[in-house]
Structures are given as structure tokens and as C-alpha cells.
């Protein structure tokens, strides 16, 4: 798991991950690249991350992937990421095409639902919590 301050160097990460697994004999490599869309007049998005729990979440997924003979990788930005640049890359490697296709979907969807990352719109230099696009984590409401 890799965390960066500011936008990701998408090509460097894609190429390095490819090289890291070039002798691992995986047949399928599926990255998911998330890029900041220009909408609602935002200049950038900004992210807070709570790393200890993100690392646990990622380690749990690595175990699930290993049980399927697969591997997952992930990179995410901390702080401001300008429009049209990338804030998030995850990837699955697997010897089997179908395993890889199912895994990238469940991995990315669980990431959206349960990775401890908070998103803010940046407008005129102000950081505004993206409350309406945010999702309570599994188990939310324990203290209500």
C-alpha cells in the first residue's frame, strides 16, 4: 500500500507494479485508475486518511486475494489533488482472468464503502466535506 502527498504519478505506478510482478507468472493485471472529474466548479478534491485502519483493511484484502491465488496493490493521495489528475489506483494480479475481473470489482467497491478516507471539495481555496457522496462504514451507528 502506497500513500502520496498530492496527485499520483499514474504511469510510474502502473509501470513499476507491472515490473514488480513480471516474473510472477500472473496472466491478468487489472488496474483501476481514479481521476478527479471537473464538476460543480471544483478546483481539486482533498483527502484525509487514517492510515492504521486503512493498512488493516488492505492487509485483510491481501489475505483474501492470496487465498484466490491473486495479489492486490493500492496507491492513494493525501491532501489536494487537482482536477484531471489521479487520486487513486488499485490493481489485481491473478493467473486467472475471471478471478481478476471479479476481484477488482469487489475490491474497489469495498474500498469505496470501507476505506477510512474522507473527501473534500476544494472551491476558492476552501475545503468542504463531501458529505452527500460519503457512505457510513459497515457497523456505523454503534454509539447512536
Amino acid at each position: 500500500m502506497e500513500l502520496y502527498h498530492g496527485a499520483l504519478d499514474t504511469k510510474e505506478i502502473f509501470g513499476r507494479w507491472l515490473d514488480e510482478e513480471s516474473q510472477s507468472n500472473y496472466g491478468a493485471y487489472i488496474p483501476f485508475v481514479g481521476t478527479i472529474r471537473a464538476e460543480d466548479g471544483i478546483e481539486a478534491l482533498s483527502f484525509d486518511i487514517y492510515e492504521p485502519i486503512l493498512q488493516q483493511w488492505f492487509d485483510d484484502w491481501q489475505e483474501k486475494a492470496q487465498a484466490l491465488g491473486a495479489k492486490v496493490k493500492m496507491a492513494h493521495a493525501i491532501g489536494d489533488v487537482p482536477v484531471h489528475s489521479s487520486s487513486y489506483i488499485s490493481a489485481v494480479f491473478s493467473s486467472k482472468r475471471k478471478v481478476a475481473l471479479v476481484l477488482i470489482e469487489t475490491f474497489v467497491e469495498d474500498f469505496k464503502a470501507n476505506a477510512p478516507i474522507w473527501k473534500y471539495d476544494v472551491k476558492e481555496g476552501q475545503r468542504i466535506y463531501a458529505e452527500e457522496r460519503s457512505t457510513p462504514m459497515t457497523g456505523a451507528g454503534l454509539f447512536q
Binding site: 487513486y88 469505496k112 466535506y129 460519503s134 462504514m137 447512536q144
Partner: protein, 73 residues
């Protein structure tokens, strides 16, 4: 002492309190008016592990994290 930290957009300084269970912490946090809009949609971690059981007992030095709704990616 139990330490409670509020993550992401909650923007509240950490609290310290005495408590023997998570249920006790919940009761005390409900008295904090600036949390009223948050608690029903926040998840809870104990020492950086997500938890889901109010009867868990606590010991001196435990850290509780309050995690508001997320949106990575």
C-alpha cells in the same frame, strides 16, 4: 484513562475519560452537543481495530476512534 479521537471532518479535539465499556463511552459522548449530528452515522474502532459490540470492556490507555462516513477514490 481512555482516549477518544475524532477523525476526518468531525474537527473535534480528542477527549479523555474514564470508562469500563464501550457502552459507557457511548453514553458520555451522547452528552456532547457538537457530536449530535455525527454519532448515528459514525463507525467505531478500538486500538485501530473496527468494533461492533458495546459490551467490550476497556482498559487504561485504550484508544477509541470515531470514523464518520467515508469517500475514498
Amino acid at each position: 484513562m481512555i482516549k477518544i479521537e475524532f477523525l476526518g471532518p468531525i474537527g473535534k479535539a480528542p477527549l479523555e475519560m474514564e470508562a469500563k465499556t464501550l457502552a459507557e463511552v457511548a453514553t458520555k459522548l451522547k452528552e456532547e452537543h457538537d457530536l449530535s449530528q455525527w454519532l448515528d452515522k459514525c463507525a467505531v474502532a478500538l486500538n485501530d481495530t473496527m468494533v461492533n459490540d458495546l459490551t467490550l470492556s476497556l482498559k487504561d490507555g485504550d484508544k477509541i476512534s470515531i470514523l464518520p462516513p467515508v469517500c475514498g477514490g
